[in-house]
Each structure stands twice: as structure tokens, then as C-alpha cells.
């Protein structure tokens, strides 16, 4: 079956090249049947990629070790579910998943818009096909998942840290996000190529962008939770280059989701929006380059391979293509209106955009810094957490404040008098919260205190918005259903606030104690007493588990176990932390036991108390809920758009 998989990928490559070359010619020479043929080629490319993916999935499920990829990433002891998740556990499989999602998204976007935007689609097809051609070339010529060998008795197996339910969901979510950003990019490029830079590309891609942004956000949160429970260093985000690689396009897409509303309402920021769409797409490819080139040190990187050069080449080429297109069509992107006041909703969106892009670029600089120092000084110098934390506070806290002010400012312009009137309640709530927090002892961390106070302010503005809006419409349901994007956005804002409280609480107000404990010795931390009750070793089928048993008394009474696993196949260790969530106190007791001596029963222990950390995960659920509200189709809006676009074609 590997031959059929290779053939299917070769067919995908041929179809992508056909859709790229013939589609470009058809759009350029205005030929309808040829354009439809190119579109059909893209649809077929999805079909042939699906066949290739099905063959690989089947081989993984059957443990067919004649496939080199299957033998390298699974073994007989691996469960069926994790065997299937090995699809994206290795380089070749994850590239195939990327191509599958890209051709799937592309086929769906083209089919959905084929009637109303036929002229635009003629240009979108070759752009999507161009991206698909790159991935198909890499899969056919450089990193094929269909390499075969003489069948070994057993496979190497999946890295233990990837044998986690979160790792089943995290990579596909990220791919759905990364690849999803290709669709708005393709439509924006199509609009520029066709010279029709009206709003139709925005209307067509609004939900695609939102969906890609939602998946990228959820993927990062799931990845953070995996790091928290599995990696075992006590945190959830380490400003690792590969983690940053997912954050950067998400920030650019967040800026775009806000600024595109200004274009829709005022016909402004057309160039800026094109730049943001291109930036988000390029950063998603750049992130993949970082992950796969081995150029930066990261715990998440795939092994170093020659594939990085291909991605770097593609980033350079596609960036030149995007910049060239925007410069070429600059005269078509002039705004017809201007900002009426610095005190308006659109102005706050603009400030928010500047802060988001500034944060994105400072992170990018932090990621590039080791590469730049290696290039120019011959030594690799990395930028650590203090750099990122500084800019997160510097840009993040004003962003949080703007999140509260923005919704209460009217479009076009507002007066200070009106603004102060609507802000009175939220400011009052924030002040009371700030004073109460200082009284409760939260003044030990100024950034933490500011983050909490701003969070209270934002939550109060959301409440004020919902109450005032409900008074006008008579029902909260009617209010939300009339403008799902706005009110879904407010729910997402609430999720960001929960995350901000969780981040501030766990980082600014947490406690850490490290001790070496002999058998029966105790340590104290924040009202908990932990006593070493010994070390236990449990051999199992494919793993030897070593655990320190710690009796906990004080704020909670019970036992926490922490230690390590030594897997036999593949022979790799993994850290296993002990976490006790105290929902009543809204904090986690996080125990890392290391250097366990089975003979002397002495252990080295690092214990952390992490207040409010679980708000981050709860915020993820709220984020999903808000995103779905904003994504939910609005039949009335769709009718309005169809009647706007259709008669223009009459």
C-alpha cells in the first residue's frame, strides 16, 4: 500500500502544479472553463491527499512496520489511539496532515464561494495551489511518509511525553490554525491579483480567519496544559521559540480581526489589513521553519533536518510575493475616509493593533536574536524570560486596559463627558477591587496588582455593556443574536481576563520551596506540610514507575505522588508531577520529586503553590464558547451580503 500512498502524493503534486499554472493562466487570460478545470484539480488534490492520509492512518493502526514511519513512531505496546496520534508525532506525518488540511480547507473555501465570487476564486485557486505545491514537493521529494523497509519485529515507539491525551489534540488544533491562515491570505492575494480590492474577500474570509484564530488559540492553551501536567518544570509557558512561533501569528490574526472591522465600517486601513493577513500567514510558515530546521534550541523541535532550508526558501519567496503584490496594488488600497477622532472606537482598535503588532515583533526579535548573534558574532546568545516578561507587561497591561475602554466608546467620535459617564461604574469597581486587593496583601507585586485591577475594570465594562444593551433590546438573547461577532468578542474578552488573572496569580503571587528530604522528614509551604513517606518502584509492561510518596497535611490532607517513568521501548525517561487542585482556595499544590534514591529513600523535592492557575484553563473553555458565538452563522447578515453582492452582478 505504500506504493499507492506514494502514487497518491505524486498525483496531488501534479494536480497542485496544474491548478497553479493553468489556474494562473486561466485567471490572467479570462478563460472560464480552464479556471473551472483548475478548480476541479484543487478539489481532486484534496481527494488524493485524503487517500494518502488514509493509507498512512491504516498502516499506523495495523502497526505495519514495513512503513519506516510507522516503525519509527509506534510499537506493539502502543495503544491504537496513540498509534493514530503518531500520524502527527513525526515530521513526515505532520507535513502530510498540513497538506491534507490545506487542500481540505482550500476545496471547501473554493466550493462555498464559487458562485458569488467566481472572478475572485479564479485567482484564489492558483494561490492555494502554490502553497499546496510546496508541501507536496517536500512530501514527495524530501520527507515522504511512505518509505519502506524489511519488516522489523517491533517498532521504536512514540516518545513517552507525547503519550498524553493533550498531545492527541494539540498538534491538529495548531495545524487547523496555522493552515487556516492560508485561506484569508489566498483570498487577499486573489483580490490584489484580480485588482478587485472591494470588501468581498473580507466577507468571504471573515469566518475562516476567526476559525483559524480560534484553533490556534485553543491549540496553544492545550499545549500549555500539556506542558503544565507532563513536562514537569512547574510552568505552562516557557517563551520557548517554538511556543512563540504559535503565539506570533495568533497575535497578528488578533490584530487583523479587530482592524478589519474598521475597513468594513469606514473603508480604512486596507493596506494595513493586507499586511496583517500576509504577516499572520508568513509567521505561521516561519514557525514551521523554526520547528523543523533545528536552527533554534527548543524542547519542541523535530530533529534537525534538511527540511528547514526548504521552508526558509518558501518563507522568503512568499514574503516577496506578498510585499510585491501589496506595493503593486497600493493605488487601489487608498482609504476614502479618515479617522474622525482620537477618542472613538476605531481609534481604540488602532491603538490595540499597534500594541498587538509591537508585542508580536518584540517576540519575533527575541526568537531571531540567537540566529542574528550567531550570524554576526559567531556565538549564539539567547534572550531569556525577563525580556519577554518585560514586554508582556509593557504591551499586555495597556492592551488589557484598552479591552475595557474600547467597548464603551462610540464609533466615529465621543466626548470626554459621555465617556466618563459610561466609565463611572467600571472605574468604581476597579478602584474598589484594587483597594480590597491591597488590603488582602496583593500589593507585594505591582504588575500583579495592576493586572487584577485592570481585569476587574474589563469585567465591569462587559457587564455594563450587556446590561445597557439588554435594556435597549429587552432581552440578552436578542442583543447577542443581533450582533454575534461583537458579543462573542466580549465573551472572548472575558476569557482573556480570566487568563490574565490566572497568569498574574500563578506567576506574581505563587510560592516555591525546594528541599532534600530524608525518609520521614517534612517541609512547609503556604499552609501545607509535606512529609516524605518513602520511594516506591513499580515495574509494568513497558515502563518502570518510580514514585516518591508525600503525605500532605494542613490546608489539605492526603497523599501526593511524584517521580519519573523509565520507558523500555523507546528507552526514554519522563517526569511525572503530582498536582492537587484545591478548587475552594483556587490554587494548585504542584510537586516535582527528583533524584529519588530507592536505597536511602532520600528525595529531592520542589514544591510550588500556584494560585488561580486553573483560571487559565477555565478561560480556555470561555474562549471556545465566545469564539463559537462569534462564528455562529447569521442568516440575516448572509442575506444582506448576498443582496449586496448579487445585484451588482446583474
Amino acid at each position: 500500500m505504500a506504493d499507492l500512498g506514494r502514487a497518491a502524493l505524486a498525483v496531488t503534486l501534479l494536480l497542485s502544479v496544474y491548478a497553479l499554472v493553468v489556474g494562473s493562466y486561466a485567471a490572467f487570460s479570462n478563460r472560464r472553463r480552464l479556471a473551472t478545470s483548475a478548480r476541479n484539480a484543487l478539489l481532486c488534490a484534496f481527494g488524493s491527499t485524503l487517500l494518502a492520509a488514509g493509507i498512512l492512518a491504516s498502516a499506523l493502526y495495523r502497526h505495519d512496520f514495513s512503513f519506516v514511519y510507522v516503525a519509527q513512531h509506534t510499537n506493539r505496546t502502543l495503544s491504537r489511539a496513540y498509534s493514530l496520534s503518531a500520524f502527527w508525532g513525526g515530521q513526515e506525518g505532520s507535513l502530510l496532515l498540513w497538506l491534507l488540511v490545506l487542500t481540505g480547507y482550500g476545496a471547501l473555501a473554493v466550493l462555498v464561494n464559487r458562485r458569488l465570487l467566481r472572478d475572485l476564486i479564479a485567482w484564489v485557486v492558483p494561490v492555494i495551489a502554490g502553497i499546496a505545491t510546496f508541501f507536496a514537493v517536500v512530501l514527495v521529494a524530501v520527507a515522504s511518509p511512505f518509505g519502506t523497509q524489511t519488516t522489523p519485529v517491533d517498532g521504536v515507539g512514540l516518545t513517552p511525553s507525547l503519550q498524553n491525551p493533550y498531545m492527541v489534540a494539540h498538534p491538529p488544533m495548531l495545524y487547523l490554525g496555522y493552515v487556516g491562515l492560508s485561506i484569508p491570505f489566498a483570498f487577499a492575494a486573489g483580490a490584489l491579483l484580480s485588482g478587485n480590492t472591494d470588501e468581498r474577500w473580507i466577507v468571504a474570509t471573515r469566518r475562516w480567519t476567526l476559525a483559524a484564530w480560534m484553533f490556534l488559540g485553543l491549540g496553544q492553551l492545550i499545549g500549555s496544559h500539556w506542558a503544565y501536567v507532563e513536562v514537569g518544570w512547574g510552568g505552562y509557558y516557557a517563551w520557548d521559540p517554538v511556543e512563540n512561533a504559535a503565539l506570533m501569528p495568533w497575535l497578528a490574526a488578533t490584530a487583523f480581526l479587530h482592524s478589519v472591522m474598521i475597513q468594513e465600517r469606514k473603508g480604512m486601513l486596507k493596506v494595513w489589513n493586507m499586511v496583517l493577513v500576509a504577516l499572520a500567514f508568513e509567521l505561521s510558515i516561519f514557525g514551521t521553519f523554526l520547528t523543523r530546521s533545528g536552527i533554534v534550541q527548543s524542547i519542541h523541535s523535530f530533529s534537525q533536518s534538511s527540511i528547514g532550508g526548504w521552508f526558509l526558501g518558501f518563507v522568503v519567496l512568499s514574503s516577496l510575493f506578498a510585499v510585491g503584490l501589496i506595493l503593486w496594488r497600493l493605488p487601489l488600497l487608498k482609504a476614502r475616509t479618515k479617522l474622525e477622532s482620537a477618542l472613538s472606537r476605531e481609534a481604540t482598535f488602532l491603538y490595540n493593533n499597534l500594541l498587538l503588532v509591537a508585542l508580536c515583533l518584540t517576540i519575533l526579535w527575541g526568537v531571531l536574536f540567537p540566529i542574528v548573534t550567531q550570524l554576526f558574532r559567531g556565538e549564539t546568545r539567547t534572550i531569556g524570560r525577563p525580556y519577554y516578561d518585560f514586554f508582556l507587561r509593557g504591551f499586555g497591561l495597556p492592551l488589557l486596559l484598552l479591552m475595557g475602554i474600547g467597548p464603551l466608546i462610540a464609533w466615529r467620535r465621543t466626548s470626554w463627558r459621555a465617556l466618563l459617564r459610561v466609565l463611572a461604574w467600571p472605574i468604581g469597581v476597579a478602584l474598589v477591587a484594587g483597594i480590597a486587593l491591597v488590603a488582602a496583601g496583593a500589593g507585594s507585586s505591582k504588575p500583579g496588582l495592576i493586572a487584577y485591577t485592570f481585569s476587574a475594570f474589563v469585567l465591569a465594562t462587559i457587564a455594563v455593556e450587556l446590561i445597557r444593551g439588554t435594556r435597549v433590546t429587552g432581552s440578552l438573547f436578542v442583543l447577542i443574536s443581533r450582533n454575534r461577532r461583537r458579543y462573542g468578542g466580549y465573551v472572548v474578552h472575558a476569557a482573556v481576563v480570566l487568563a490574565a488573572i490566572g497568569i498574574a496569580g500563578s506567576s506574581a503571587f505563587g510560592h516555591t520551596v525546594e528541599r532534600r528530604l530524608a525518609l520521614g522528614q517534612s517541609m512547609k509551604i503556604d499552609g501545607y506540610t509535606l512529609t516524605n513517606r518513602g520511594v516506591r518502584v513499580t515495574p509494568k509492561a513497558n515502563v518502570v514507575e518510580t514514585r516518591a510518596i508525600l503525605a500532605v497535611t494542613g490546608r489539605w490532607n492526603g497523599t501526593v505522588e511524584s517521580g519519573s517513568n523509565q520507558y523500555l521501548n523507546p528507552p526514554e525517561p519522563s517526569q511525572e508531577v503530582g498536582i492537587k487542585t484545591d478548587w475552594w482556595r483556587a490554587q494548585d499544590l504542584y510537586v516535582i520529586a527528583d533524584d529519588l534514591n530507592v536505597n536511602t529513600q532520600v528525595i529531592y523535592t520542589k514544591v510550588l503553590v500556584k494560585p488561580l492557575v486553573n483560571l487559565l484553563w477555565i478561560g480556555g473553555v470561555v474562549f471556545l464558547f465566545g469564539s463559537l458565538i462569534a462564528l455562529w452563522p447569521d442568516a440575516r447578515e448572509q442575506r444582506r451580503l448576498v443582496t449586496r453582492l448579487a445585484p451588482a452582478r446583474a
Binding site: 472553463r33 462610540a410 459610561v422 449586496r644
Partner: protein
Amino acid sequence: MNVTVLVLGILLAAGVVVVVALPFLREPQVSDDRLDAPTADEERRLTLREERDRALAALRELEFDHRTGKITDEDYRRDLGPLRRAAAGALKRIDDAELPPEE
């Protein structure tokens, strides 16, 4: 490579060729093979409709912002006139362009 794989490969290739060639198989001869890209006139109509929708949306926003207390009565009265004139102007320009009626 076994026979089954070979047959499946040939079927895949043949199916793909048929689907890609379908537009030409369905319509071997056509009088007009141009893409229906919007003409300059249609582009202008689309722009006018976008302007109209923006003006009407701005009026709706103003009304809602006033009722939710985001702008004062004085600001509301000041902005209402220009926005109404902008909306009326956009509607008039659509009438002048003799657009076919919607629905």
C-alpha cells in the same frame, strides 16, 4: 508493486483526469468562455452598495450608542444630520446609477 495497487493507481489517475477535464467534456463548444469578472460598471455598483451599507450601519450604530448612553444627546443631534445626509446621498447615487431592484 502488486496488481491491486497498480489497478487502484490507474483508476485514481483516470478519475482525476476525467474530473479535471469535466468543464471541457460538458461544454466542448461555447459561445462565451470568459470569466464573469465584474465590469467597471458592476464594480462601481458594488462600491456604491458598500457605501450605502456603511452609511446605514453607521446610522444604526449611532442610534444604538445613543440609547446605551455612549454618546450624549448633544453629540447625537450633532452627528445625526451628517450621517442621514451621507445615507441619503448613497441611496441617491444608487438610484442615479439605475441599479435593478433588489429581490
